[in-house]
């Protein structure tokens, strides 16, 4: 990264971090700049990486006229920007939802449903396997709302809550780790690339 680039990146980082003190114009400037640059980047990238190779070149140079259909669907989607004819965008949206659901259904069921269920039902020859089975069954019991959580059923659901709490705790721990990692990344950049304090 050039010296100018490092300085711009460092000052923008400080602008964003200044929000921790309180909301201010420097933060707002950096935020707006980020949103604008990101949107511009995505538009340019989509045009060059998607529209040109996947639509314009095959349609106009190779005569692949079937692509007129997605082109029309794409234009219909953009009509959402005009309130009077915005309803037209529901058609391509319905198409996308239908295709995606159909495409995902079997694969998702296979890799995230059937395989997971099969691996839950392991022989009770280790503590880990027993804990997995108890955790899944009690957790599912908690989410069964057609019967009042009383007696043995209620106690089973309570065990499920404990398993859920442990899961949430683990997720929270990982989330903290992720956020701190991002802070470390920025601080490392400021201290090494910008200030040269870390070799």
């Amino acid at each position: 990264m050039t010296t100018l680039g490092v300085w711009i990146a460092a000052l923008l980082t400080l602008c964003i971090l200044s929000f921790l003190y309180k909301d201010n114009p420097f933060y707002k400037f950096a935020e707006h700049l980020f949103v604008g640059v990101s949107a511009g980047y995505v538009v340019a990238l989509t045009y060059h990486n998607t529209l040109i190779p996947n639509l314009f070149v095959p349609l106009l140079k190779q005569g692949d006229y079937i692509l007129i259909i997605p082109l029309i669907l794409g234009i219909m989607m953009l009509l959402r920007l005009f309130p009077k004819v915005g309803w037209i965008s529901r058609w391509p949206l319905a198409f996308i939802v239908g295709v995606t659901a159909g495409f995902w259904l079997i694969t998702y069921l296979q890799s995230n449903g059937l395989v997971q269920i099969r691996e839950t039902l392991r022989p009770f020859n280790s503590l880990g396997n027993i804990v997995i089975a108890i955790g899944v069954l009690t957790g599912l019991t908690y989410f069964f709302f057609s019967k009042e959580h009383k007696g043995v059923f209620g106690k089973t659901a309570k065990v499920g809550i404990w398993f859920l709490m442990v899961t949430f705790g683990a997720s929270f721990g990982y989330t903290v780790m992720a956020r701190i990692s991002l802070l470390i990344g920025r601080m490392h950049f400021l201290l090494s690339d910008w200030l040269g304090l870390i070799k």
């Binding site: 921790l20 990486n49 998607t50 296979q110 890799s111 899961t167 780790m177 990692s181 991002l182 920025r186």
Partner: protein, 278 residues
């Protein structure tokens, strides 16, 4: 206002300062806290170790700059490991920003081990579509990636000779920061094409992917900066993740102290309120 009430209403900016110091000080003055390798990281390392030299690895850079501190170090470490084992790396990208980040990691690793672009590694660039792209790779990689990210036709790249679909790849490794990412590669490359899939992901998403590890749908998993640091330890190299682990550990210790302290203050306040009501 009592001392407890003052503590309850402490300005949150003091906490920010404490966290900032907990990160900055260890970065400036490393402590060298030990890093222990977890089984999920060891598994991915072993999976790469088991591949015979010359094998092709498909590496997907499915992350952006916002998650770079977490995912880039693992990308770099795994790329270095692959080149040290004389494996050939074919890169694909499902996130727009991943093109330059992945290429950067490949170039640094390639330079270290004297690898040549086009012969030992290639970056096929970004394609929009997520799962559809993975599906298309399984059908015909040349259809979805007719050229690399520089615009060189795939036929002119020696590394791509004979590569038609997943068949020639011994392992798929995805570095993922969300969707599309690990889930999609597992669903298509593993479930449909029965390829070995390894993954490196952000710490936030790691808990969701551990079930894949237990079922064997993933051969290994690196979670966040810690996963990357563990991998660097296995490679016996001091990378960017190892440098950040001291700061990570100290910051966690500070956060734990704050959580304990907050709960303690809450319990004392609760007890006082109960006594007053009696």
């Amino acid at each position: 206002m009592s001392a407890i009430e003052k503590l309850r209403n402490i300005d949150r900016r003091f906490i920010f300062i404490a966290i900032a110091l907990a990160v900055i000080v260890p970065l400036l003055f490393p402590i060298g806290l030990p890093v222990t390798v977890s089984p999920s990281v060891q598994k991915l390392y072993d999976a790469i170790e088991e591949l015979p030299p010359g094998s092709k690895v498909l590496m997907s850079f499915d992350y952006g700059t916002s998650t770079m501190p977490e995912v880039y170090p693992m990308n770099l470490a795994v790329a270095q490991h692959c080149f040290s084992r004389d494996l050939k790396v074919v890169g694909t990208v499902l996130w727009p920003e991943g093109v330059s980040l992945g290429q950067n990691a490949l170039e640094i690793a390639a330079e270290k081990y004297g690898k040549v672009y086009g012969t030992d590694y290639v970056n096929l660039g970004y394609k929009v579509g997520g799962m559809v792209v993975i599906q298309a790779i399984g059908r015909d990689i040349r259809e979805i990636f007719p050229e690399d990210f520089r615009g060189t036709p795939i036929e002119e790249l020696p590394i791509m000779e004979g590569v038609r679909n997943f068949d020639r790849f011994r392992l798929v490794v995805t570095f993922s920061a969300g969707d599309p990412g690990v889930r999609e590669w597992v669903m298509i490359a593993q479930a449909r094409y029965h390829k070995k899939v390894g993954a490196g992901c952000t710490a936030v998403s790691a808990p969701a992917f551990y079930p894949y590890l237990d079922t064997g749908q993933l051969v290994g998993l690196l979670g966040g900066m810690k996963g990357a640091a563990e991998y660097e330890k296995l490679l016996q190299s001091q990378g960017p993740a190892t440098a950040g682990m001291d700061a990570q550990s100290v910051a966690h210790a500070v956060i734990i102290c704050f959580i304990l302290f907050g709960n303690l203050v809450m319990l004392i306040t609760k007890r006082k309120t109960e006594r007053r009501s009696l």
